[in-house]
């Protein structure tokens, strides 16, 4: 390790200590400082011997946290960018956590969440043993363009020795065209889900081998599920780890691993959480962890979900949920979740992050039309917008069959209250974007409604 790298680590570590003393989050700045001193810091610094990397559009933060917590429960030391700082500086900052002032590594494991687009530049420098891809979906059009572009970026970052752990039910990312060793996981229809056909966003229509139209045996949503091509036989790859059922007595997910059933605890009854669990399990198994030990540690997992919060006040259940802005798939999934609930409900949609996202110029409208509003199944009383761009959402909603009489644009907080009947027993969903400022706003609205309902 050269002098420049040592100096970079020393300065960045010192800044990290100072920031912690000042009670500041040190997820980015120390990485920036180190990078300033040594422009090749990520490549030059020493890393733990056992490195696990995870990417994907959805679920990567939760999966990384699960892996890190299990490794922790099993008495190993680790570093991780578990708060989600997943670009260059966030990764450097995470590695600094397991590095002494002199640059020596003092942890057993590194578990990294890697941004999909940054994979091209950073993956080879992280030197992972395994690289897991949770899934790929269309995300922010402005940044991520389209799913095939993202796949190409990831492909460029993959080095020859890394083992890939892929989601067999993701008909696009599972066929990443690299010669590496691949292991697959999958999740069958274990909760009796209804299929979601006719999504606006649909990235696999034709067989990538022979161009015949794909036949869906079970279409979970978008390009996820079980499928085959009648002409050439193209189909889902065989999964080594496959969640195939639920054992209600044991409150467990039945997972087939190489012809043997293992029982994973149910942490949350959502298909997304099961995907994350199965991906975490497969990743740990492929990194040499014992199945029984993983399961014991998995039972101790608690998902601290900053993206979901529920309170009950009198006749109301108020639910705060993230619906990531500019991400039509994430919004469709949230609306599907809400639409499936039989309870009476009002939905409040906050989307006021125009300034906070750093660029008013990125305020494009295409994502508004790509949301499957019809997944609400007309099963709600009011859809209340509190957003400077609320009017942009209206025509796309009307075009997907939403009744205009149910849509309200609230100019002020008091307009939200005016549309809530205090006597009615109902669920109130507050949907908001992902940035801290959005969470704060949503919490304020949540408190405002609680106070109103309490009288």
């Amino acid at each position: 390790m050269g002098f420049k790298t040592k100096a970079a680590i020393f300065l960045a570590k010192t800044s990290k200590i100072l920031m912690k003393l000042l009670n500041k989050r040190a997820t980015q700045l120390p990485g920036k400082i180190a990078h300033k001193v040594d422009s090749n810091i990520l490549r030059n610094m020493k890393k733990p011997l056992n490195t696990i990397a995870v990417t994907g559009t959805n679920g990567k933060t939760t999966t990384v946290n699960m892996i890190a917590d299990i490794i922790d429960h099993l008495d190993n030391t680790y570093i991780s960018n578990r708060l989600g700082s997943n670009t260059y500086h966030g990764l450097v900052s995470a590695i600094l956590d397991g590095t002494t002032l002199t640059g020596r590594v003092n942890v057993d494991y590194a578990i990294y969440e890697v941004d999909e687009l940054w994979s091209t530049n950073v993956l080879s420098q992280l030197e992972p043993k395994t690289f897991s891809i949770t899934n790929l979906f269309q995300d922010s059009f402005e940044r991520n363009a389209n799913i095939y572009y993202v796949l190409e970026r990831i492909k460029k970052g993959i080095t020859k020795d890394v083992k890939l752990i892929l989601n067999a039910t993701d008909s696009i990312s599972s066929f990443i065209d690299v010669p590496n060793e691949k292991v697959y996981f999958s999740v069958d229809n274990i909760f009796g889900e209804d299929e979601v056909k006719n999504s606006i966003v649909q990235d696999l229509v034709y067989c990538p081998n022979c161009e015949e139209e794909i036949v869906w045996d079970f279409q979970r949503y978008h390009h996820i599920g079980n499928y085959h091509c009648e002409k050439c036989g193209f189909t889902k790859p065989k999964a080594k780890y496959s969640a195939y059922g639920i054992d209600e007595e044991k409150n467990s997910i039945m997972l087939m691993e190489d012809e043997e059933t293992v029982f994973l605890p149910i942490i949350q009854r959502s298909i997304e959480t099961v995907y994350n669990q199965v991906c975490a399990y497969a990743t740990l198994r492929e990194n040499g962890f014992d199945s029984d030990q993983i399961i014991v540690a998995m039972k101790l997992l608690k998902i601290i979900d900053t993206r979901f919060e529920t309170v009950e006040v009198n006749s109301k259940k108020i639910i705060r949920m993230v619906a990531k802005g500019y991400n039509p798939v994430a919004n469709s999934r949230v609306l599907d979740f809400i639409g499936k609930s039989e309870n009476k409900k009002t939905i409040i949609y906050l989307f006021d992050n125009i300034e906070s996202n750093g660029s008013v110029d990125a305020r494009t409208t295409g994502w508004n039309y790509s949301i499957d509003y019809d997944l609400l199944r007309d099963n709600f009383d009011k859809f209340i917008f509190k957003s400077r761009t609320a009017e942009d959402f209206i025509v796309p909603m009307l075009m997907r069959g939403i009744d205009k009489n149910k849509i309200v644009i609230a100019k002020e907080m008091s307009d939200i209250i005016k549309n809530i009947d205090i006597q009615t027993e109902e669920d109130i969903y507050i949907l908001h974007d992902i940035e801290p400022v959005n969470v704060l706003q949503a919490k304020e609205v949540m408190k405002f409604i609680q106070d109103y309902v309490r009288g």
Binding site: A145, T365, G366, S370, E391, V395
Partner: protein, 235 residues
């Protein structure tokens, strides 16, 4: 009136919505949706309008090869003044040449006389606007590609955001009734005056679907864009 929509199943960036709205606008027209594995309607018939919207570059390359056997027929129809609309990155495959930085040149149909440069390391996304018949037209631009060669056949001058390429304010490429627009953003849905003009051109009733809501969205957007300095107050 017959409108042929080519390969809608591949459209991205919310542009399926643009076509869905067009279908509501031209409610008495016959829409033919040609899928990727089908022979285009225009090969054996004469539609009044053909439209194609942005798609992933991976699909765009496949579509170019799919259209290649029908290129001469497409040129023939364009020469016969059939309306042809293409948006955003579809322009990559319609010009004479597609340079891709760091890679081999892409395949193009060579129907129109301009060239394209695609740079996967330089993605851009921005809001743009112009004025047509004294009304604002609001749209956006995003992609990897820039286009060159519309100096004598541009359609509009953008007032912000750039045009055919990011260094030029001359936007669009027109040849006869072909309109190649590098912009996107559900243009028909969010620009009521432009949509009315289009309906009028074809002699249709100019009442728009969800007209009141479209105008509310349009007017609100103009005021927001002015408030944020995207549209200069003086314009």
């Amino acid at each position: 009136m017959v409108i042929e929509v080519l390969y809608k199943e591949f459209y991205i960036y919310g542009e399926k919505g643009n076509v869905d709205y067009l279908e509501l606008m031209f409610k008495d027209a016959q829409f033919i949706h040609t899928k990727y594995n089908e022979t285009p309607y225009f090969v054996n018939n004469r539609p009044d309008m053909i439209i194609i919207e942005p798609m992933a570059e991976f699909n765009l390359d496949r579509v170019a090869k799919k259209l290649e056997p029908h290129k001469q027929r497409l040129i023939e129809l364009i020469e016969e003044d059939v309306y042809f609309f293409a948006f955003n990155n579809v322009l990559d495959i319609l010009g004479t040449e597609l340079k891709i930085k760091g890679e081999e040149d892409g395949f193009t149909l060579g129907i129109f006389n301009y060239h394209s440069i695609r740079d996967y390391d330089n993605r851009y996304a921005k809001l743009i606007y112009t004025k047509i018949d004294s009304h604002y037209v609001l749209a956006s631009k995003m992609g990897f590609s820039n286009y060159y060669g519309n100096k004598h056949c541009y359609i509009y001058k953008t007032l912000k955001g750039g045009g055919f390429n990011n260094k030029s304010d001359l936007g669009g490429f027109r040849y006869k009734n072909s309109f190649l627009i590098e912009a996107l953003g559900n243009i028909f849905m969010y620009n009521p005056y432009l949509s009315k003009k289009l309906l009028d051109t074809f002699g249709f009733d100019t009442k728009l679907p969800f007209e009141q809501d479209v105008f509310e969205s349009y007017n609100k957007k103009i005021s927001e864009w002015k408030r944020d300095g995207i549209i200069k107050q003086a314009e």
